[in-house]
Symmetry: D2
Subunit: 401 residues, 4 copies
């Protein structure tokens, strides 16, 4: 019972949902359980403690919400802000755009700082706005750490510096959907107030769990935030945390055990090694793109993303055709160009529990597709460039030495 089955393994290189490792699939292969028995709280307790590590926070309070990234956004905003609040938000691609759309529909007063797609958040404008806001009317800065549509990573440490420089008390809300657990992310060090991700991204789980982490300051803000909320209300969770039963409504038993397994794998590999692996995969992909003679949608090295690469195709090629052929002929799943870059870029997601040889299979596939659609690529060129780098940099697998 597969829809449109193809022989061999599907090569899943969209930037989410990503490949689930077998041990996680196994952990979720189970019947339901009574979530009010002592077992589920005992399990949950370990998850809440351990999930903080992937945010690099000790002071944060995590929430494992049965929702998607979109719901996690809503949770972050409605628990900390009130309708009419002024917030600053950066529009740099499709996902930041969608978040801004949500912010506006939730009735916040959004001051949008727009960049060309392919560029990072304009932090100079932010600095000037913060400098000017001596009255502290700006209640929050909302920023996407890694814009999945363009493969752009923003400099969060710099945002914190700006706020600190001006002693500005705005909340610092971060979408870490395609960064947390894959890119360097430091909630406590960077003074992030709410950070969030989705289970189907670097954690390599199925979709269905929005993971939101709130700083003490964010929790404090939630006491006075007037946005109407029930399902997403942190307070309902906090009440059950206190009781030790943890769940205001039914969680997915399977995702809880899946998260346990996913965290175990990450800690076994070492979170820093996981991040290092993503760095290798990102670098290898960019070297291949360069070897193909194609442009990275991301305009400067400082914004290069180690979880997704958006590749610009020549004007005479429709990038959607590349994605279609990848799936129809090679059982390869690539990401489409979205909105402004539709037809102009295709995306290679290289995040989650994936290794170098998987990526190289994908890159070899992309080369053939490029040829299919009439781009004069030298077959093997991208793979060669990636291999040259990887062969020098892949470490031994720790458990096998």
């Amino acid at each position: 019972m597969d829809y449109m089955y193809g022989p061999g393994r599907n090569h899943l290189f969209v930037p989410g949902p990503v490949n689930i490792p077998e041990p996680v699939i196994r952990a979720m292969n189970r019947n339901n359980e009574d979530y009010r028995s002592p077992a589920v709280p005992a399990l949950t307790k370990t998850l809440l403690e351990d999930v903080k590590k992937i945010f690099k926070t000790t002071s944060g309070t995590p929430f494992l919400i049965p929702t998607t990234g979109t719901g996690a956004w809503e949770s972050a905003l409605t628990n900390t802000l009130s309708p009419g609040d002024q917030i600053v938000s950066f529009l740099i691609g499709q996902f930041s755009l969608l978040w801004i759309d949500q912010q506006q529909r939730l009735k916040f007063n959004v001051d949008v700082i727009e960049s060309e797609w392919g560029r990072g958040a304009n932090l100079e404008i932010l600095a000037s706005k913060i400098a000017a806001d001596t009255a502290h009317t700006i209640k929050a800065i909302c920023i996407v750490h890694n814009e999945t549509a363009t493969g752009v990573t923003n400099n969060l440490a710099q945002v914190r510096k700006i706020l600190d420089h001006y002693g500005h008390p705005a909340l610092f809300l971060v979408d870490g959907v395609s960064s947390i657990c894959a890119l360097d992310f430091r909630m406590d060090e960077w003074g992030v107030d709410v950070a969030l991700t989705g289970s189907q991204k670097a954690l390599s789980l199925p979709t269905g769990m929005g993971i939101v982490c709130a700083s003490p300051k964010a929790l404090e803000a939630s006491k006075t935030a007037k946005s109407v909320r029930v399902f997403f209300d942190w307070n309902d969770y906090l009440k059950f945390y206190k009781m030790g039963t943890y769940w205001p409504y039914t969680p997915s038993i399977q995702l809880l055990y899946g998260l346990r397994a996913a965290l175990d794998l990450i800690f076994e590999e070492g979170l820093d090694n996981v991040i290092e692996r993503h760095s290798r995969l990102g670098k290898a992909t960019r070297l291949a793109v360069e070897a193909w003679g194609l442009k990275n949608c991301t305009q400067k090295e400082e914004w290069f993303s180690d979880t997704v690469t958006a590749v610009v195709v020549p004007p005479y090629i429709d990038s959607s055709e590349i994605v279609r052929r990848a799936w129809k002929r090679y059982n390869l799943s690539l990401g489409l160009g979205l909105n402004k870059v539709a037809g102009k870029v295709f995306r290679i997601g290289h995040l989650g529990n994936v290794n170098e040889l998987q990526l190289l299979g994908c890159l070899a596939g992309v080369e053939m597709i490029l040829k299919d659609v009439g781009y004069p690529v030298k077959l093997g060129s991208g793979v060669a460039a990636a291999c040259a780098y990887l062969q020098n940099n892949i470490p031994m697998i720790a458990s096998r030495i």
Copy 2:
């Protein structure tokens, strides 16, 4: 990696999450997929078409939302109503209470009709209110079809009759969380405007999908409803339905395939046969309770629930101790008494993909536990009463004749 493992199979008789049948577990045992490939929309299309059958609607529009029942409630309310709207709601147990709490927090003006816990919705009072409301200020009637805390099933056909009798245009919103797919439910015939359930109930899936179905009148109402909503906004779904890509944000691939398998099993058995099976299980449970000399929390036969039975224990027994022992000694999961009936009732959930012999194992277990806690039950009495009925009524398994 189980928390607090016990030998043999866990006997899961809480009224949700319920036992997942093996074919559904199998269907979900899979890697992620690109939800933007042609395969996922093709699958989704079949689901949206087929899921209408379990609501018995042809004119309704279903939404498969990555959320729980609580989120499904919020979706029903915020898409059809505006803050300040007057609604009538029935308080008859813990879940109707929670829904009312949500209605109030979402800023509706809730007129609560309360019944003693163990009794159904007071439809006479409803009738008088509807009769009096000639100005049609009441915008919606909110009712829980089956109150899971007390095992009470309300008469939805009667609600429709009252509204029709007075020609009242109020929306008719129904929580079918512990009824749909198990009890007789007729969305079109009863003129229900929004009906909803959760995947972990009679559909026998993991938690994580709120299934909401909207009548044309509800969809019309959503165009003017002023409740703030983004994640739960039907309109975002409708836009993607039109495009044929179906998903405004990432669905759980596993739950989609799981729902496909769950629906296939239900249709193979026959929805009416599924409902008939629940009727047998409910009747058998009530006969056992009677044989034990205990009282059903539900005060009248007209409200007896075929999906959950709340059993009243004598005053000298703490029903929570029964639930604890069930789990600690017999690997049996029963439902606690909640709120007003905490300590006073325990609950046997008999919904979802479960058969008679599974129930009889549970009933035998309950008998031993009753004895454990000092209730002078005659061992075997409940099982005998249940068997006497079942032996005359279980049909042959169609595929095996």
Copy 3:
């Protein structure tokens, strides 16, 4: 993709293959692996060490052979005996009969000691034969520890006593297919030379692994045994054991991980507790049979089996009809009567990873079926008798106290 699906869970009470616990199903839910990598030998090493514990041996050498119980028999015989060798074998039911058939076809000179079906091995005759055999022409005693067709457990300690009493050097070969891991079995203490079981019995795995354990004396015998053998030759294993690669041919990766999980569960529960649980299940079943007014096929208490109970039906009932109805109407799988007792007995298997409430569901089912086929059973009577015993004897689940 189930053949002849029925709603709810199949109640599997044949005496093998038995219910596989979820953690074992999970452990086997995996891709293949290279069995020549360092990982598989590392895993195998732990299995060979730990599997000895279920035989209660420290001096034995185990073999995990990709075969069934029938193959394990052949392995035991051909590695220790030569064509023409005289052996003593007991015919007490269908499985001992099949083993004897194999012994004869393998060209041994089999001296068969027959008992009425329902009685144990006649050890008095054995004693007289051993006493008479001062020339030590008898090379081996072959005995089924637990005859699965009649539910008869033989007294192995007594066999050892007889051999020791006469100082007879015959090899002591034991079929422990439906006993090991469920009944008290002591390879070293009882001086068993070859003991064997199959994965699908008390270990609660799928079929496919024959587990054979050889004493030093049996290994010594294998050096001169002249039976032709290749696939079943222990020597091929021993060569690979020495090399540390363990496998002369490809093992099932899934069964290796499954065995690891199965052993882990057994050790977590405690082997003695596992045996105790089987004792409870056997006793409870026999009490039910008695309450129904039916006879146990096993004629004396000393032979009662704690893993399978063969129930004699009145002459006017065809026991096969009971088994057919169980499956067709109640989704219950019972064991047929075999050969001499075909139509006369049906069998309840109560072995493996199964608990008391599962058994009680089965017993309730049997009561209804007995009524279906015209036997005047008092519904609830068997369950009552079983519960009366179990309620006093089930321990708390260790992990949940």
Copy 4:
């Protein structure tokens, strides 16, 4: 619970056990069942009918034996031959050597025709022997269709021609372990008398099922064959086939459902397309080897294998080190060189449910390893050569057009 886990997916390119496709893993993810219920025979019936298609036979009788390839060999030999029978066998690599060892230990009189490893069976010598054997003392020709150790495919049609040319009645026994379901194999057309394979090879299942198919002439031979056999005796199967219960002893329920799923996938793709896919994979691998400047162990194109390629390394490199590094650094599983070619070749298995991009990932990995061990490979060269061919030859995926 993985032994020596590494991040990302294991790249399994040993020539068996091979990658199991997800739909097959899913189909096997199940509890045990009573194999004497009507469901298992109903399932078995479809398997026996359909498995004949992968042998391209209509007159053959298949046996699904719970064993490995080694056991399947023994089944083929002992059912058709008597000790002392003269047979002709070809020694061309490790697996033909092991089969010959078995033939000798089973007491047949084996006339071995040896070839240099890397060359195919010497059919000229066969022809001369057959020509000379006018007395028809040769009872059987035993040949490995595809020698997995060297990647050599023998010409079976030619063997048949030789036998026919001389009107020689010898049985024609074929080991198709690494060929059937992947290479062109025509049991009826080539007059093969016994053909066999193992589940873990091109069928892409776990190990544990030996699949043996016997021609009418082989069945006839089995009536007089005097080799001692019980577990492997076809006659026991045939008796149960007649009764319609099919199984003389317990089969693996999981492998039966797995085989059903595996056959369904093969028929969905089309057996000829499956063979074509293997042809592409084999050709692509050989082109890569050539581009690397390395030699194929197989000395002539007529013997090139499309399921496994043995690559000869320069004398200054130890091929075992390549296999070790593949696993330790790249999570890639390659095949060791065996026996005579140990240290001299490594093997790439490209059989079973695997696609082109998977292979390209493997080839890219091999390039890096070659560099690791000091071979001056041009990175990307093999992938380029493979892609140049594949890009012109991969068909669209039928279900996705």
